[in-house]
Symmetry: C2
Subunit: 125 residues, 2 copies
Amino acid sequence: MGYTISQVAEKTSLSVYTIRYYDKEGLLPFVDREKGKRVFHDQDIEWIDLICCLKNTGMPIKDIRTFIQYCTDNDAVVDKGLEILIQHKHNVEQQIRDTQRSLETIEYKINHLPQMYKEKFSTHH
Amino acid sequence: MGYTISQVAEKTSLSVYTIRYYDKEGLLPFVDREKGKRVFHDQDIEWIDLICCLKNTGMPIKDIRTFIQYCTDNDAVVDKGLEILIQHKHNVEQQIRDTQRSLETIEYKINHLPQMYKEKFSTHH
DNA sequence: ATTTGACATAGAGTTCACTCTAGGCTTTAT
DNA sequence: ATAAAGCCTAGAGTGAACTCTATGTCAAAT
């Protein structure tokens, strides 16, 4: 019943340091304490998974904090949290499109590298 | 014939500071000088575009430097540059898949946020 | 002739997201 | 009873990628 910080570190592949850092930064206001020690439950892991997703898709820590604050404040504000999540979803979709465009450019450059090389660096010109 | 640093800044939407920084970091060894001032040509812009693509897809500066060094050394090593580019292409493809998975998680969480909220924060439990 | 503007360098400062150290407490094993 | 392991906090340190400041040069405009 309840995980220690190092068990959560294993489960989430975050370091213990990072989890404490996230807590310090206000990302984990929902974590319980027992005699000063953090005790994590399954729902907490779900929240941390979401936090990791947001981080991995480029949301800065302070925006994640804002999101979590909206979610923990009260029912009225959870909608604002939802709004942030939906907006971020659109950002990530755009991000995928941008990365795909970069990928196309990289593929193009792979095919044209010898030529780019010649034009610029060949002793021949 | 040839662009100034601020013209290149406009074209690439990098700042003048960033371009100088990249040069300092050895990313732009191909840029000519005239009386101490950098003079950029169209091929240089193509190289800078590639550099931006690599940066935007998460390649660290020092790896970009290595790549550029391979490309500028001599014909024998340009193949090594090509190899790096192809490897990076695979990384980016993986990165897109990862981001798509994160996106799916975010979509799932959007649908389950009210429930996650209730389970953890509702006064009712 | 002087002022303005764009360029240059060296190096300091900033921000972000960790990552680690020092020092302390508490439970468990020997 | 002492040592080891695992938790805690506060705060210092790190590395990446800029971003800016100070200072200086030089060419063109007034």
